[in-house]
Each structure stands twice: as C-alpha cells, then as structure tokens.
C-alpha cells in the first residue's frame, strides 16, 4: 500500500510541476518541445498575417514663423511605407503667428487682423530611412530606430493667402513596439511672402515630437 502511494506521489508530483511551470521550462535551452503539438499546421492564409504598412500619428512642438515670433504647433500625420527605405507622409499642422517687432515698437499698429494670424499648413512628402539602427535600453533590451530624411511640398495658409510651401527635414524614430513609435523631427518650411513690404522667402523652422501607431 505504502509502495503504491509512493509510486503515485513520485509520478504525479513531477507531472504537476511540469504542467504548472511548463513555460519556464520550455524557455530554457532544450531544443525539443516538451509536448509535441498534435495540430498539423495548415495552408498559409495570407489574410491572417497582419500587414502594418500605414502609420498614423500626432505631433506637437514649436514653429518659428519668420517675423511673427515662435508659436506652439500641433498636428497630425499619415504615413504609408512603400518599402523598407521609402515612405510617403502627409502632414497637417496648426499654429498661430505672434506680433512682429514693428507692431511691438510702434504700439497701436496691426499688420494683420487676428484671423489672418492663424497658421495652417499641409504637405505631402517622400521620406527615406537612411540609418536604421538599435537603441539599447538595457543589456537585454533594444528598440529599433530609424533616422530619416524627408522633403516635399504643400501649402501654408497664413496672412490671408495659401502659399506654396516646400519643406525639408530629418527625423529620428524610436519603435517602442512593432506598432508604436516616437518621432523627433526638425523641418524647415520655405514660402514666398510679401506682407511686410517686398516679397521675400520666409524660412520657418519647426521642431516637434510625436507619437504614431502602425496599422
């Protein structure tokens, strides 16, 4: 009788241990799975593979609007990854121009009415991932990163008109997971403006940070 109890104890206990801790055991170096799955893999159904080539995101930062101070900027973007290197990106951004130095010095003068100080832009760009890399957080954990160059064209609605705007810049992307990433970017926006006398090229520098999700 005692023998039988011992037998049950010895055979059941290790089994219980195995089942309870099987994930830890299988994560070790043994190549052979503990329990061979008896489900036979079937034909590959492509619809079951999640394709994540689109990215949608929001950003916030500072834009220096030439002659009109620096302002808070916010916006959104949509990206389509054509390949591992190239991507299309569409942006919209919103800010508000401040006062010119002339307005501050001269006192009660307004160069633009308030509603014409609303600064809105859209642009469509082509980007290129030039330096894919990894950022190491700890000894065992790394985030994938990308450094990219980007440029394109669009329009800026400011001072009463829509102005053709070219933008170029660069960004750094850190992929927190395969579907979530952080962007840090710098852009230079160029357009022609004649609000303050002679027509000239206005250079507006944008520095922003954003969060995006792949889908």
């Amino acid at each position: 009788m005692e023998n039988r109890i011992k037998h049950i104890l010895l055979s059941v206990l290790p089994l219980a241990g195995l089942l309870a801790f099987s994930p830890t055991v299988s994560a070790q170096d043994d190549d052979r799975p503990l329990i061979e799955p008896d489900v036979r893999p079937q034909k590959v159904d492509e619809a079951l593979i999640d394709t994540e080539n689109f990215e949608i995101g929001a950003f916030a930062g500072i834009i220096n609007i030439e002659d009109f101070e620096s302002s808070f900027l916010w916006g959104g973007k949509l990206t389509y990854h054509l390949s591992e290197t190239f991507f299309f990106e569409a942006n919209v951004g919103f800010a508000e121009g401040g006062d010119t130095s002339f307005e501050k010095l001269a006192g009660d003068v307004r160069v633009l009415p308030d509603d014409e100080r609303e600064y809105r832009y859209y642009n469509i760009n082509v980007g290129m991932n030039v330096l894919p890399g990894e950022a190491f957080l700890t000894e065992n954990y790394a985030f994938n990163t990308n450094f990219y160059l980007i440029g394109g064209a669009g329009a800026t609605d400011f001072a009463g008109d829509n102005r053709f705007t070219i933008n170029v810049g660069a960004g750094y992307q850190v992929l927190l997971t395969d579907s979530l990433s952080i962007h840090l970017g710098v852009r230079e926006h160029f357009y022609r403006i004649d609000v303050l006398g002679e027509e000239k090229t206005s250079l507006n520098t944008e520095v922003s940070a954003g969060l995006s999700v792949f889908f």
């Binding site: 059941v12 219980a16 309870a20 034909k43 590959v44 159904d45 994540e52 054509l82 829509n162």
Partner: protein, 250 residues
C-alpha cells in the same frame, strides 16, 4: 499527495485561461517550415539591421506580422525576428507546398487594377501639387480622377479633373500614354492684389506622359497636359502643365 492533486486540478484550467487572456498559442497564426538549408533572422524589418539568428531546414516558423517586404516570425522557443519575404516564399506550408505571399513584381505592373499617386510640377509658371486615383478598365485603358492645387504669385487655383488614359504598350517597363479629360477650375486671386473676383470655369485637357516601373508596387509617372479654359468672355484661355511624381499600384 491529495494536495498535489488538488494543485494540479486547480492550475490546469488557470494556465488555459492565461493563454486565452494573453492571446497565447491558440490564435490561428500561419506556420511555415524552412525548406532551404537556413534562413536568416534580422532584428528589424530592413537589411540595415543585423542578422542575429538563423533557422535550419525543417524548423517551423510562425508568421506574426508583415511590414513592407519583411515578416515577423517566432519559433517554437519564442524567439522573435524578421525574415525577408523572398526567404519565406521558399518555405513550405502544412501541406508541404511552397508558400506564396503577395509580393508585387514587374509582372504585376501590367496586370494592376488600381493606381494612385502624388505629383508635383508647374502650371503656367506656378507650382502645382496633384493627387490622383485611377482604375484600369482594360489592359490599355484606365479612368482617372484628379485633384490639383496651383499656388502662384497672383492667384490660387484648384482643379478637379476626370480623364481617360490610353497606354498602347502596357507590358513595357517604361510605358507611354495619352490622355483626354474634362474638369472644372476655381480661380481665387491673392488677397494682396486688387484683382477681380473669384471665378470658376469648365476645362478640357489633353496630354501625354510616361509611367516607369521602379520596384515592388511603385512607379514614377511624368506627364505634360494642355488645358483649355472655357471662359464666358470672348476668348478661351490656354494653360500648359508638366508634373512628375510617384505612384503605387494594387
């Protein structure tokens, strides 16, 4: 002894519940078997990322996610990595047949059914930005819808156009085309000019251009169009436009 049995009975359903909760192995993820001597795993979805592991012939890989031409795979030990689609195409599925995943090639370019793109250029000396979408009715003929914005020093112009495109040689890598279409133009003079009021007119256009296949599912498109603007004055106006851009096809 009884304690062990009770523990066993208690933990078995719990671990099953945990699998369900964390989306464990029970999700139906496609699996493939390596048929080449080995496949390389990279840490990220691009050739710039380092190879950190290889799977040998006979190993089973689970396909988790796809980004452009790369598939995220896991093996039986739970390792994660990225394998290029060209390598996955050489693996076998559960029935022992070669896996086939959509990987656009030049062959698909001539049999595409949709295309869309973004183009930039010049419209009578002013910068033009345009987007379009097109559907291929036959191998030679497609219908397109365009939206354009022209930002000049004197006015802002918006245009919508619908056109028919004919390509005589659809199987050429660099394929020329002719186009004819109609649309509408909206002209808004700049605020700083004491210009006449906004106006809008019907337009007709004819043009020619070329599509040049690059790789995967994208191509470069360039075109020149001549627009006739039907004004309600004595004479009609004419405008010439050229554009170049990048398009994708499905």
């Amino acid at each position: 002894m009884r304690l062990a049995l009770i523990l066993l009975l208690l933990t078995a359903p719990l671990s099953a519940a945990a699998d369900w909760l964390w989306g464990g192995a029970d999700e139906p993820m496609p699996q493939v078997q390596v048929a080449e001597p080995f496949v390389e795993w990279r840490t990220g979805p691009a050739v710039g990322y380092p190879v950190f592991h290889t799977s040998e012939k006979g190993e089973w890989l689970t396909l988790r996610m796809r980004k452009t031409s790369w598939l995220k795979v896991t093996d039986r030990k739970g390792r994660e990595g990225w394998v290029h689609i060209d390598d996955v195409q050489l693996t076998l599925d559960g029935e022992g047949e070669q896996v086939s995943l959509t990987n656009p090639r030049f062959d698909d370019f001539s049999s595409r059914s949709w295309e869309a793109g973004l183009m930039m250029g010049e419209f009578e000396g002013a910068a033009v930005t345009a987007i379009y979408g097109g559907y291929l009715l036959t191998r030679n003929l497609s219908a397109e819808l365009w939206g354009s914005q022209v930002l000049g020093s004197a006015s802002e112009i918006r245009m919508v156009n619908a056109n028919i495109v004919h390509q005589p040689f659809p199987h050429w890598r660099i394929s020329p085309f002719f186009t004819l279409g109609v649309g509408h133009i909206f002209i808004e003079p700049k605020a700083t000019l004491a210009a006449p009021d906004d106006r809008d007119n019907s337009i007709g256009h004819a043009g020619l251009g070329v599509r040049a296949y690059i790789t995967d599912n994208y191509f470069i498109r360039a075109e020149v169009k001549d627009y006739k603007i039907f004004t309600n004055r004595a004479t009609n106006e004419e405008a010439t436009e050229w554009k170049i851009g990048l398009s994708i096809f499905f």
